[in-house]
Symmetry: D2
Subunit: 345 residues, 4 copies
Amino acid sequence: MKAAVIGATGYGGAELIRLLQQHPSFTLHSFHSSSKEGESITASYPHLETVSGMELEAIDSEKIARDADVVFTATPSGVSSELVPELVNAGSRVIDLSGDFRLKDTKQYEQWYNKKAPDEAILENAVYGLTEWLEEDITEAQLISNPGCYPTAALLGLAPLLKQNIADPESIIIDAKTGVSGAGKKATPVTHFTEMNDNLKIYKVFAHQHTPEIEQEMARLNPEAGAVTFSTHLVPMTRGIMTTMYAQAPDGMTAKELTDLYQESYKDSYFVRVREEGTYPSTKEVYGSNFCDLSVTLDERTNRIMIVSVIDNLVKGASGQAVQNMNRMFGIDEKAGLAFAPVYP
Amino acid sequence: MKAAVIGATGYGGAELIRLLQQHPSFTLHSFHSSSKEGESITASYPHLETVSGMELEAIDSEKIARDADVVFTATPSGVSSELVPELVNAGSRVIDLSGDFRLKDTKQYEQWYNKKAPDEAILENAVYGLTEWLEEDITEAQLISNPGCYPTAALLGLAPLLKQNIADPESIIIDAKTGVSGAGKKATPVTHFTEMNDNLKIYKVFAHQHTPEIEQEMARLNPEAGAVTFSTHLVPMTRGIMTTMYAQAPDGMTAKELTDLYQESYKDSYFVRVREEGTYPSTKEVYGSNFCDLSVTLDERTNRIMIVSVIDNLVKGASGQAVQNMNRMFGIDEKAGLAFAPVYP
Amino acid sequence: MKAAVIGATGYGGAELIRLLQQHPSFTLHSFHSSSKEGESITASYPHLETVSGMELEAIDSEKIARDADVVFTATPSGVSSELVPELVNAGSRVIDLSGDFRLKDTKQYEQWYNKKAPDEAILENAVYGLTEWLEEDITEAQLISNPGCYPTAALLGLAPLLKQNIADPESIIIDAKTGVSGAGKKATPVTHFTEMNDNLKIYKVFAHQHTPEIEQEMARLNPEAGAVTFSTHLVPMTRGIMTTMYAQAPDGMTAKELTDLYQESYKDSYFVRVREEGTYPSTKEVYGSNFCDLSVTLDERTNRIMIVSVIDNLVKGASGQAVQNMNRMFGIDEKAGLAFAPVYP
Amino acid sequence: MKAAVIGATGYGGAELIRLLQQHPSFTLHSFHSSSKEGESITASYPHLETVSGMELEAIDSEKIARDADVVFTATPSGVSSELVPELVNAGSRVIDLSGDFRLKDTKQYEQWYNKKAPDEAILENAVYGLTEWLEEDITEAQLISNPGCYPTAALLGLAPLLKQNIADPESIIIDAKTGVSGAGKKATPVTHFTEMNDNLKIYKVFAHQHTPEIEQEMARLNPEAGAVTFSTHLVPMTRGIMTTMYAQAPDGMTAKELTDLYQESYKDSYFVRVREEGTYPSTKEVYGSNFCDLSVTLDERTNRIMIVSVIDNLVKGASGQAVQNMNRMFGIDEKAGLAFAPVYP
């Protein structure tokens, strides 16, 4: 089967090329870029030399829909909202990596993204693709909205708690830390090496656009969930997200019970690895891979639950989960092309 | 006046040498080490070449007490508990950088440090030296117990809140992140470059020995304070601590009121810089300096207060605050030798 | 076919597991460790959880020879020299990643490694496995000595020059820079994060044990080659080697001619990518992959040739080249299991 | 005495503020910026909060000349060439940190900088301020051209060799490595954190504008010196330069003789520390300080001399040396305000 990637020159696009290049059932059919038509992908990414000699093509929705079995739109917010409907209307099956089709409430979208919301008819049919918690069969779905990196890490960590209604959702605090690749390929003063190296920053304080996405999905998992405190830090590393999450525990719960619950919840999820009680993941332990590693414990002195989750923001937090969703859409093993080990150290 | 440093070959000792070397009123009189007697300090620290050609001397409490006006013990926990009483009994004025004289409750010490507690008579007279919140004149004090790095960052951030009894102390969560120098000079598997570079780790989960120290001092600031949730992360950087702290706000409070309160609290504290509302410090902005930079804000959607504090763990979190305490002990300007700018970038 | 890995808990061993796990023709049959028998590999490497649940086994040469088609010895120098002969005598086909079977001159070995040289009969039959420059068919070879990381980067860069006898070998200088994983998994003061982060060190000055290996192989490529100046630097990064090499050019040569020669030399070598004239590789562009990227140019003002080569020291510089050699030994496509893209960024 | 800084918002300017702030004889009188007039310096550099509350002022050469005893122009190349003559003509004593007044040959300047050369009359009177090798008394000099960062590291390392005519200048190769702050404060794709972290790059190959500066000064030290091979690498660290330099030795020389010669050459130079034979500096050992640490040795197998020099590119390589030159200009101790220890670790 054939995949097309639009927006191939961002980090999400480059990572899709790496993943699709080793996929057993899909081939990379074409790359597309609005700004670099005719250029080789190696002009942007010399590391892809010999891996792929393909040229970037223009974005022609009709042609793409005709030629490719699936299309990944790794385009920025505000671009996908225009482009995806064209592709959908032309008959493509689309996996969108922008945030444009995640928020069902268009007012929320316009408030947090400060852009015009996409067409509601298309939006309505977009499936939010947190793969492990999909409520529906997506083998017929035409549009998957791929989750954000922070929401993926946070929701995989919170889902068992919310589903089982163990903790008061109002007590939840998400203290999130990300590597700098989450900010994208574009150079900015904040992500200048000299400013970021050997430094730790807090940013977009209570203004991160992933906040309503997390809340929307928390509420889907537990209708009592409302607003959540979510803070975001930039750590001097390239890849990786860790979310450290706190919630008030009911009386009498133990760390062992919590760990058992989590291990049970994810026993059929290859990509979510729940650590043994008393051990905790570090971000490097999922580097370059599609895994989400999780620990849960209890601070007995304050009766607070703490959940720690780590992902590679560019893989499980973006392109890897997109491929996992593609596998589900086409009814093949969700591990296809993704069951490789992290790169460690 | 003359200062002696015991334990000169750890990072705390080396940093004391840097700071005392530029102090206007004190000279570095002697360095002492139990294991490296007779060696030049430059064998451990080539960067001190020409800055100091002094040799490390044995630890002779009587002689040190006779020769030096003040002694810094930058010795490990368990060593200070034996050494400091000797120095005190010999008449020295001592500033201890280990954790041995911080916890007033010897049971707590023995539980968290897993070592024998120091002599209670000496312990009783030790003054906990969080300089900005000293309740007493220390110009006559003989023993200052210098605060830990995490407690310094956390308590400077929490103190105005606790003093004014603004938030329920039970609601407080401290999510702390440190650079790796906090773990000391000794090479370990956890702090091996290859394991720590491009990585983010959570460690000593709910078992960090600074926990009871933070609680003891929180209770001094506000008697209602009890146990606190305190988590600790290792960030791939050399220096710096950031604590991100959360507390439930009373109804009707605003971010501006909180910022005003903090600016008022610290208006006479040169080394605590409260940022303007809506701006936040990063760790690099205090690198190499004795500053603690602070922001406070309100997450209006959840009515949670968030406080962010940053310090250089080896300066305000250790040797810088020790010199600041020395200045206070000797009745000189507390800024003496410390009023230099951070090294940025 | 079945592969065994001895010394699975070092970085070379862990990387072999990652690579073999995705190999189309070989399966990971067993891991062996002298010190951790009975432990799960995940005790040393939590990132391998679910990737492999295998236990570390004792080292029983007879059993290994019986059960596995090929054995990788990722054991330290001085251990391989004892172990490999046992395996060879038991009939195993062995790929050795230590330096024990690289130097044909046992006096050189004993001088640079300060260890007892291996048995000469075994040594004589060991094939030096710089895959792209193998002079012989190795489909029948029983023992491959896998090259060192620095020699791989240096020799791939120098080989066309030496083979064509373009530059005076005496004029060659190799200025090499490595990431810290080259120093292995064991924590040491030199590789302590705090000492290495934001730092650049020169080390083992004119005493690196890879020096005679480079010279031996340079002489094989060009009999006029003798001693070479080779310096080694530690760079604050995890993976990657760059060698910057200088040699006096004959009169009248151009950068274009040099580039053409290199491109011609490597036109059939999938894993060596010669860059276009005027462009240069960075280490990250081969991160996690088996590629060696190369540039060659001329400093016209001094008539010096400069060659720049980069590899991932743990892949092409160790485990990746070992798998490439295994593919050659078994007569399968040398790209099998290795033709994936670098992890970038 | 009073100092003015023009171009205060670049890294050179910010570092001058840090250094002047602790100078015993000079005060920071005013900061100037063409683009940020009226803004507080803390808008660009929050770390300077409370250290300096001054506002950036417009650049009025007449007024600056009237008010300040010395002016530092930390302005970009092409700006200084216009601005410095104005200041000089208005009577200021100027220390220029741009490259505009370093090359005496205006054709070279125009070729390497691709900008219009400055007025020759002014250029003629500019003294090249490599402080340790100044040939003249500068207490009356009106214009000092402060050396570039690479030339400082390279020339301090080469000067004794060149002066004593020990090695054939044609045999010299300079392999230089820099931290990223050398590229300035402006964010660029090359210096984007994600592209530079865990990466090593070679850049501006044989096209670095410091090449002719090094050659000009090498020729001043030894008239036989001509073109030199000089390569430049970007290392993932903030501060620091290491130059590794090679030269052919005359027969019969020893490492000890070389070390003795270097120690003798610099015995009166506080800021140049020649290491003992067999030990080598790392960049961190001069971090934040004005020191240049040096080692020299001999590769006996190839009879090549190797010199290793390290500096902090923003201090000895820019603002620190500028202050050192200021001290010389005003006839005060050259160590004034600069004799502090490196920040280590």
